[in-house]
């Protein structure tokens, strides 16, 4: 931001700018804060209502789960993990885009990130919140979840730090905390803005508290930026580590189809792919609903599409590599595991996966598709499905046929599996809508820095 070269037309003359012309610090401020300070649009009530119903479904499913046990799900021996873990990995993956956009793109000085990082971060938080639920829900005795934490106890027993699940506990909770802080720190100046804009006394008090008395003192700004950049620098390796650790859940296992060293990179790539797909899925409607075309421009959408091309290629490489390794290993169990993906009873999921993640993500090579908002929206949806299928294949298909044919068995989700899954979507969207309504979904102060008027040099010159 302090050197917003990325956005100066000089470098990218032919591309649309990251913020439409004619905006001033004032107009940006008023436009964005008006979303929050203005009244609630009618459609938002409807949308929230639907999402909240989904949330209720979730609560119901969970209550049944606690009352009756994980038996209400389709899981069994050999397939001990089902939708719960699939969704866990899926949500975590989605949760990657936010921090990635805000942290890595920030460090890379990709100033176009500015207008999407805020709600991308929010999306991260809410996605990780969903993900965080599943490891607890999937326990046979969920009320003992705290045994996974290193708490001193009268049994002098401690968690087993060799278990990837414990690594998960640390990775996910760290990721949650850091993302939360990153998001909040980014919010502080905008909260101050809202504090100073809102007419509503209650709102003013609340925003006031949250803003912590931010005044935009230049000394504050300096510390603020230093720590914001440091956070970004820390979040970058974190975001990579989180899905790496999640992938350990599988790659540490001995099950054919799990025991693969390629998992970490391609889990991370997959995470980013689904993350951006989800961002696109959220950004496009919002942009419409609140007329933010000036801030979330074609350029943003196109860049996201491009990132999906790259990550799509990486996961495709992953799929190919898995097959190759299986063949090359000359290990009959590995080989069968992958033949089973292609020929086995679950083959349709594998074909679906290839279609969604490989074919669809590569469609963005075509400029026409890339620049069509509708196409982008639809394909992003497809890609999210694809990523879900990927996790389904890894978790279920691998488990359903492992070493001893005698214990092979199929997994069929029950209605409770579906309710828990659909439910979290509702939960997620409800949180998302609340955020949109009460907090600025675009970082106001960072937008200001993108304005031509915010430059001191040119004028001084």
């Amino acid at each position: 931001m302090s050197a917003p070269t990325g956005s100066t037309p000089r470098f990218v003359p032919q591309r649309p700018p990251v913020i439409a012309a004619g905006h001033t610090s004032a107009s940006v401020t008023d436009k964005i804060s008006s979303v929050v300070l203005g009244g609630t649009p009618r459609w938002l009530f409807g949308a929230f209502g639907i999402a909240f119903t989904g949330f209720m479904v979730f609560l119901f499913a969970v209550t049944c789960l606690f009352a009756k046990g994980v038996g209400i799900w389709g899981i069994n021996i050999p397939v001990g993990w089902g939708f719960a873990i699939i969704c866990f990995v899926w949500w975590i993956g989605i949760g990657h885009a936010g921090t990635l956009i805000s942290a890595i793109l920030l460090l890379l000085r990709q100033s176009w990130r500015t207008s999407i990082n805020r709600f991308a971060e929010a999306m991260t938080l809410f996605a990780v919140a969903q993900a965080g639920l599943y490891p607890i829900l999937h326990l046979g005795r969920p009320w003992l979840f705290y045994w996974l934490l290193p708490l001193p106890n009268t049994m002098t027993l401690w968690p087993n730090f060799r278990s990837p699940l414990i690594w998960d506990v640390f990775a996910v909770s760290t990721y949650m905390t850091v993302s939360l802080m990153f998001w909040y720190v980014g919010l502080i100046p905008d909260l101050a803005t809202l504090r100073d804009r809102t007419k509503n006394p209650i709102g003013r008090t609340i925003y006031g508290m949250m803003a912590m008395g931010w005044r935009g003192d230049s000394r504050h700004w300096h510390n603020y930026e230093t720590s914001y950049y440091l956070l970004a620098a820390l979040a970058t390796p974190l975001v990579v580590s989180v899905h790496t650790v999640v992938s350990f859940d599988f790659s540490v296992g001995v099950i054919p189809g799990w025991h693969t060293t390629i998992f970490p990179p391609y889990f991370v790539a997959g995470a980013i792919l689904s993350g951006f797909a989800m961002v696109a899925n959220l950004a496009i409607p919002l942009r419409h609903a609140f007329g933010l075309h000036d801030f979330i421009t074609e350029r943003h959408l196109e860049n996201m599409a491009k990132i999906m091309i790259v990550t799509g290629l990486i996961v495709t490489y992953g799929y190919a590599m898995e097959l190759f390794t299986a063949w090359y290993s000359a290990n009959q169990y590995e080989q069968y595991a992958f033949l089973n993906r292609i020929h086995g009873p679950y083959r349709f999921t594998w074909y679906g996966l290839i279609f969604c993640n490989t074919v669809c993500s590569q469609l963005f090579w075509f400029k026409r598709i890339r620049n069509s908002v509708k196409a982008l929206f639809v394909l992003s949806l497809v890609i999210n499905v694809g990523m879900w299928l990927e996790r389904f294949i890894i978790v279920v298909v691998s488990l359903s046929r492992d070493f001893l044919p005698s214990s092979w068995g199929m997994y069929f989700p029950t209605k409770f599996d579906w309710m828990t899954f659909i439910g979290t979507l509702g939960f997620f969207m409800s949180l998302m809508f609340l955020f949109i309504r009460f907090l600025p979904m675009i970082s106001i102060f960072e937008m200001r820095t993108l304005l031509p008027g915010s430059k001191t040099k040119q004028e001084a010159a």
Binding site: A67, H138, R162, G409
Partner: protein, 1009 residues
């Protein structure tokens, strides 16, 4: 237990409590006072106050919630979940009671089980057992090592009998018509009825019993008949061995008992006989047979050879060196042809042609038998017609086997009769109203008599029917009076084993309910007073009278049988005319058209075990089918009928018709459908309800074990539940196998894929296991897949029955399973059994991934599983290459039904909902032995610890011990070149290894096949 669909989860929400220990709460209320005295246990009283109980209550409210939920139950749910959430916090232990004895028995040390020798009977034949008793609760049944019929092992039925004792569905009260009545009223009614009979010398009195081998019972019946000379005593058992008795009558002039001595047999031919896993003496037969098969390094490599000719593939067939599937009528022809081929006097070659495989067999087998005169054996199954039996006798006689392998003795039944004829006579007497008073003692003819007798209708014409039985079953329903019978573990009695050994039955526990034994009732009938014990003693005095009786009696009480009471072989004269007659009759017959084969079910036998959850849930050999019987057909016949597994067919015989689900089974004979008896119980109890169809509906007096049948496809589908869908080993070298020649040529055939990874093949320094290091070796060649180990494990380790629906969802809880793989031709496959339990891997993949260290390794190399630490991530199971871990998806354990609490092994924790469990090598037994050894300050001896599966195994296939002790049996087995570990290339270092399987095929047949 009966919580078949897991609808009512038992929560254990006590933060630090994985479960109720088995022994904890015998609901004293439900059991009778004398038992109560013996209980040292903490009582149920406080239970209602524990958080667990509180939540259980809510759980019950929620029970109906399996299906879509009303607003109300939603709110209830909320309540429950709140409660659950709250209970995460540490809860306080309730104050529990200690209930000591008033007068403590001398030899009893609280917490130490006592063992008593007794016997259980099926169709009157005793299987000798030792029963483990905890403070007066029988909890586990073992074989009687001294008894010749057991040698320490039992079959699956004896193992499961403990569950019959505690079956909540047992009848508990005297019933008159449909009203609860009293013993007093019943006796009064009986007195009146008998009064009338006394006048007419008992002309209208009939007594129906199972086959009686018990001298005491027979004597008592004799006493009754003395008072009522015109009364009739009818014996009937569906598996009464009528054909054998009749055959021996024809062949030897008198009904004789036949037993086999497999220890002398080099060549065995079974004709439709499951010699090794069912029928009298099967346990001993299996032991002797396998001892002649096992090969150890350095010893002379000789194996006996088994030819199995059978229509429905049996466990015996599965271990045969050669198997051929023939329809029963073909088997008859085969026998005739074989006899002719062997030049048996009077034999004639049948006109009808045999399938060419069978024809080849006749030649080869005859040659083989001829070459082993006096060291061979031909066994005809009990269900084969008399003619075939006679010919089998004749063949054995001709081969000089009578004596060495084919042993003929006095009949073990006190009064051997043609039971079905007697029953038919009884039925017609009842029809014609000649019967006024009928005593049905512990049999259930209404269910298991041939249909054409219409036994039920006939009984309706009898004014006074008295029924004595464990259950209020189909017969009891039609009797005016029903009296609950005592279980054999609750009463005195005696019976003869398959070899005539006289075995004593003693009560392990006071009758749980107001039960009576046949002897009781008959004493009443005879108007005698005194106790059953006196009766038996006096009877034994007759047998072994004279001085020193007390000594003998006390010894018998200890041993469980009168040593040396085994029947001595009789020399017999074979009647040539009988043979000729049989041969000509068979020669006339021909094999055409479809046949139905009615056989006893490997799990529920003739139906008496239909209400036994353990047996219902044990996967049957070959099919791995549970909770059901089916119309079992070969692939070819299925194709012909245009059906697949699960489709419905209608079977129609002259007896009647039934609809049945089809099961396509490789290796089943052509042109015939096997239907197992014992299912489709109308009044069998809650467990039996809804399981299978009643195949007795097809059985008539003319063709009791099957005959011509019309099979046609009908609409509909039945989900037949199996525990193993995949028969193919997928070219994975799991069951390593070779023929004897291959083995002698290449002793290392089991390691062609290269040896297991070296011990130091790891980036980490490996743990050294000093002191005891437990391990198991399993001889795959010896396993018959008889399932005794599975039931024994269920009983020893308090393993829950989960029910049909849960098994369908792959959620069975068995700690040991017997994997079954087919190899070769679909119509004539080889089958391999592989018992799989936790391998106790030294580098256990399951342990490393458990987040709470609920499973970790002991210094003795055990893969400890701590139920009370488990939070239920199921990660360990996912990461287990052998998939031997089992998870409580619901609260499967019935901790509510009081009587079931008595059944539990107090040394093993009851696992509750959400907890992983698995085989522990019977760690409770290991700990007991260790503690004893430590108390005596000595090392543990080899053989001091036997696991439940090892102890019960009739063929000694499973060996447990200390692999660090070079002299231990297990260490020796693991040194064999054939010893290998499954999936050992994963470097899991399994402590359970397998000794590769050997077959001893006849090169002649092998070449042609």
């Amino acid at each position: 237990m009966h919580d078949s669909d897991g609808r009512e989860p038992e929560h254990d929400t006590h933060g630090h409590d994985a479960g109720v220990r088995g022994s904890q709460e015998p609901a004293l209320a439900a059991t009778r006072a004398p038992l109560m005295e013996r209980e040292l246990w903490r009582s149920l009283e406080d239970r209602g106050r524990t958080p667990a109980a509180r939540v259980r209550v809510q759980a019950e409210i929620l029970a109906p919630l399996a299906e879509p939920t009303s607003r109300r139950s939603f709110l209830q749910l909320m309540g429950a979940s709140m409660a659950l959430a709250g209970l995460g916090a540490c809860a306080r232990q309730p104050i529990e009671k200690i209930v000591p004895y008033v007068k403590q028995p001398e030899d009893l040390v609280p917490g130490r089980p006592l063992f008593f020798a007794t016997a259980l009977t099926i169709a009157g034949v005793a299987s000798p057992v030792l029963v483990e008793s905890h403070e007066g609760r029988p909890t586990k049944i073992e074989g009687n090592p001294e008894h010749p019929a057991s040698l320490g092992a039992t079959d699956r039925f004896a193992q499961a009998d403990i569950m019959r004792l505690y079956d909540p569905d047992r009848s508990t009260v005297v019933m008159h018509l449909d009203d609860i009545s009293t013993w007093a009223n019943c006796t009064e009614a009986l007195r009146v009825a008998l009064g009338e009979q006394l006048a007419k010398r008992g002309a209208g009195l009939r007594i129906l019993t199972p086959s009686v081998t018990s001298p005491a019972l027979a004597a008592q019946i004799g006493a009754v008949l003395a008072q009522y000379p015109d009364a009739k005593w009818v014996q009937y058992d569906p598996d009464g061995r009528d054909a054998v008795r009749e055959a021996s009558r024809r062949a030897f002039g008198a009904p004789m008992s036949v037993r086999y001595d497999l220890s002398n047999a080099d060549v065995v031919v079974t004709l439709d006989s499951d010699l090794l896993t069912s029928g009298p003496g099967n346990v001993r037969y299996a032991r002797d047979f396998m001892r002649r098969r096992r090969i150890h390094e350095g010893e002379s490599a000789t194996m006996n050879r088994l030819y199995a000719v059978e229509s429905m593939p049996t466990s015996t067939g599965s271990v045969a060196d050669h198997r051929v599937g023939l329809a029963p009528s073909e088997i008859a022809l085969f026998t005739a042809a074989l006899a002719a081929e062997l030049g048996v006097a009077g034999a004639t070659r049948p006109s009808a042609a045999l399938p060419d495989k069978a024809a080849r067999w006749v030649v080869a087998v005859a040659k083989e038998l001829a070459a082993h005169r006096g060291r061979s054996l031909v066994v005809a199954g009990d269900c084969l017609p008399v003619e075939v039996q006679v010919l089998a006798f004749a063949i054995n006689a001709a081969l000089g086997n009578v004596g060495p392998t084919f042993v003929v003795t006095d009949p073990i039944e006190v009064r051997p009769t043609a039971q079905h004829e007697e029953l038919a006579a009884l039925a017609s007497d009842m029809q014609s109203g000649r019967v006024e008073t009928l005593l049905v003692l512990e049999s259930n003819p209404v269910y298991d008599a041939p249909v054409d007798l219409a036994f039920g209708d006939a009984m309706r014409r009898v004014p006074n029917c008295f029924h004595l039985g464990l259950y209020r079953d189909e017969t009891a329903e039609l009797c005016q009076w029903h009296v609950p019978a005592v279980h054999e573990l609750e009463s005195w009695g005696d019976a003869r084993a398959y070899d005539g050994t006289l075995s004593l039955q003693q009560p392990l526990v006071e009758p749980l309910y107001d039960g009576h034994s046949s002897l009781d009732v008959l004493m009443l009938v005879a108007g005698q007073t005194g106790t059953v014990l006196d009766l038996i003693r006096s009877q034994w005095q007759v047998l072994y009278g004279g001085a020193g009786f007390e000594k003998l009696w006390r010894r018998t009480l200890h041993d469980g049988f009168a040593s040396g009471s085994q029947f001595v072989p009789r020399g017999v004269e074979l009647r040539a005319d009988a043979v000729r007659d049989a041969a000509t009759r068979l020669a006339g017959t021909s094999a055409s058209g479809n046949e139905v084969v009615l056989r006893f079910d490997p799990n529920v036998h003739d139906g008496r075990f239909a209400n036994n959850g353990w047996l219902q849930e044990v996967p049957k050999p070959w099919t791995k089918l549970v909770w059901d019987n089916a119309a079992i057909v070969s692939a070819a016949m299925a194709h012909e009928l245009g059906v697949e597994t699960g489709d419905m067919v209608e079977l129609q015989t002259d007896g009647g018709k039934v609809e049945a689900g089809v099961w396509v089974l490789p290796g089943h004979a052509e042109r015939c459908v096997t239907a197992h008896l014992g299912y489709g119980r109308r009044r069998g109890g809650n467990v039996a309800a809804g399981a299978g169809f009643d195949a007795y509906a097809l059985s008539t007096t003319r063709s009791r074990w099957g005959g011509p049948v019309q099979v046609r496809k009908v609409a509909g589908h039945r989900t037949l539940v199996t525990t193993q869908e995949h028969h193919d080993m997928m070219r994975r070298n799991l069951v390593r196998r070779a023929t004897l020649e291959e083995f002698t040529a290449n002793p290392h055939f089991a390691h062609e894929e290269g040896p297991a990874p070296a011990r130091d093949e790891s980036m980490f320094k490996t743990f050294e296991y000093k002191g005891n290091a437990w391990g198991v070796a399993i001889d795959l060649g010896s396993c018959t897949g008889c399932n005794a180990c599975v039931v024994a494990c269920n009983s020893e380790n308090n393993i829950a029955v989960v029910g049909r629906d849960q098994v369908r969802r792959n959620r069975e809880m068995h700690w040991i399973r017997i994997d079954r793989y087919f190899e070769g031709d679909l119509n004539d496959p080889q089958i391999h059994h592989q018992p799989v339990m936790c391998m106790q891997c030294e580098n256990a993949p399951c342990e490393q991934v458990c987040p709470v260290a609920a499973t970790s390794h002991s210094p003795e190399g055990l893969n400890d599983m701590v139920y009370n630490r488990c939070v239920g991530t199921r990660y360990c199971s996912n990461n287990c290459p052998y998939k031997v871990r089992r998870f409580n998806f619901y609260g499967y354990q019935d901790v509510k039904t009081p009587v079931l609490q008595l059944m539990r092994n107090p040394d093993v924790t009851i696992r509750t909902r959400g907890v992983m469990e698995k085989c522990t090598y019977c760690v409770q037994r290991i700990n007991h032995a260790r503690i004893d050894a430590k108390n005596e300050n000595r090392p543990i001896r080899d053989g001091e610890i036997v696991t439940a599966c090892q102890q019960v195994c009739p063929t000694e296939a499973i060996v447990f011990g200390d692999i660090n002790d070079p002299e231990s049996k297990v260490a020796k087995m693991k040194r064999e070149t054939r010893n290998y570990g499954v999936l050992e290339d994963l470097n899991t270092r399994p402590r359970t290894t397998y000794v590769a399987k050997l077959r001893n095929p006849n090169s002649e047949l092998e070449a042609k096949a």
